[in-house]
Amino acid sequence: MILHRSLSPFLLAASLVTLGLTLPNTASAQATGDDLPQITITDPNRNLLKLGIPNASGDAALATEASGIARRNFVLVGLFQVLNPVSFPPALQAEGLGFSSALWSQVGAQAVIKLEVVGGDQKTLKGRLYQTGRGDKATFAKDYRGGDLRMLVHVFTNDIIKELTGETGVFGSRIVFARPKRELMSVGMDGEHPAVHTNMRSDCLLPAYSPTGDRIAFTSYLSRTPDLWVVPSRGGRASRVSKREGMNTGAVFTPDGGSIILTMSFAGNAELYRIDAKTGAIQKRLTNNPGIDSSPAVSPDGSQLAFVSNRQGTPQVFVMPIGGGDAKRITFRGNYNQTPRWNPRKDKQQIAFTGRDEKGTFDVFVADLQKNEILRMTQNRKSNFDPAWSPDGRLLVYASSRGGLFVINPETLNEEHVWKGNARSPFWGPAPSLGQ
């Protein structure tokens, strides 16, 4: 009897406990996302990021100029499809620095750049980045002040590239190049602000920036022989560094800037040497064989040297230790490969070069030493040659028989014409320091 009396409350309590454990479980099964029905979407579209850049607001003339520079910059880096502003409805143009992700999604934008310019001696550029997947708030906002509007937009562009890729852009860097029978010249990477660096009144060939960009080494026929000269990049007198008999060509600076590696033929055959960058004194002979060795290019860590040699019959690209030694051939396809240039990125073992295909056309290729493959950059666009990497290793510049210089993004193969005059042997200078 006592047992019966105490049993019923126990049964009730046990039932309630069991009920209590069961109900929350039922509810939580619907609360967690893993238990929802799922749809798996695969095989995405792989296009450039669709970027909207509406007309800037503020001072009308400056705003138009700033919008134009920004659109050109973002097209040039080859990562963005800049949407045609004509397709933007008035509501989007009238937003100012504000933003509606729903409206911009309707015109297909994945990201939007907004600019506002305030004029005066010291201009102010207000730059904003919006991403349609992150709501209506700016994901990057910064104001810039300075006298040169183009430079302000360049700095903003570099910041946006860093925001979207994790690595800053290199707008503000310069490209030096030769012009047949004319003086050396350089332009900004957007093709603007041209500058002439020499006054030799003779052929100036194969220019190369020093690692800090303060000097340019080149070959000149001023004395009717191909001698090596160095000129300050910001103006000043050129000095002859090597005038040895025969050729003194294809110079590149070592990463410390203290030495130059070049081809010289005073000993009878064209070989690679390392010389002092100021005095021209020979520090070391790097090659010694019956073939012609030329076009040296130093690896980003300074430990290896790529060069061209015909020691196995046809001009091919070889790699050897920076101090000389056993050379390893890296190009086995095509019978005429030349002008190698190392990608400055240490995480990418890539060498760009000029190759001739079976139709006799020169085109730009990239040899990936990690993947052991060769990638073609240009095709069916006349001849393209003499590639050089941007300082961040994201872009290549090259000369073309179409006239002038072109920049290509090796990942997207997006190509842009940056200089329309005559040009040969471009060399891309170091990244700028455009602090704000």
Binding site: P44, N47, A102, G133
Partner: protein, 239 residues
Amino acid sequence: MPEEKVVFRHASRSLSGGIVATVALHGGLVFLMYWSSRVEASPEPQVRELITTELVKLGKPRDKFWLPKISRPQRSRPVDAIKVADDPNAAPTPKDAPKPEDAEISDKLRSALSRARTLQDVDLEDDEEGQLTGSELGTASEARAGDEYATKVNLAIRANWNVPVGLIPDDQLAALTATVRIRIESDGSIKDAGMHKGSGNNTFDDSCMQAITATAQVPPPPAEVKAMWAKGVGIVFKK
């Protein structure tokens, strides 16, 4: 003795009340467990894998000695089929001349031939069984409503999903997966979109959210699956 009877009566009353309450609670428990098992057993939308093939062109292989070419995928064009009747050079189709009935063929043989033709027609009808909205490559004769609707949602969002080339290399993309949780209203509008499980790559996650924002609206869910889809759905994005 009378006291004992009172005690027994009280005890039996409380025992029977307890048993009734316990039975009622356990009955409720059983009902709850049955109900929850019904909810969990709801049909889940399934996504079919798409399989594509490419045919190798007929021609002479290129010598591997030469430098590589840029190969771009060519869009397939529908082949213009030439009907014999439309071909001006084609010979006219011969028409069978009517033949006189053979008196030697027995009625039984004629009946057997007629039966064979009927069976052949039945076979052809079986081969073509499917749905008017189905695919030529489909294998199922019919689809459940949930499957069909999941496919519509999949196609609508995928059309707006762009993983920017150049910002995410192919080798990185292969390892990225993100799940976005959305809710689909009865009119098909997408609400309450939020990243449920990020991939760790902001650009990839942004592309997934951008796909949802750009889609905004999908076909309205059919009545039989509306309740399930209204609770929410996980959209898994991966290469």
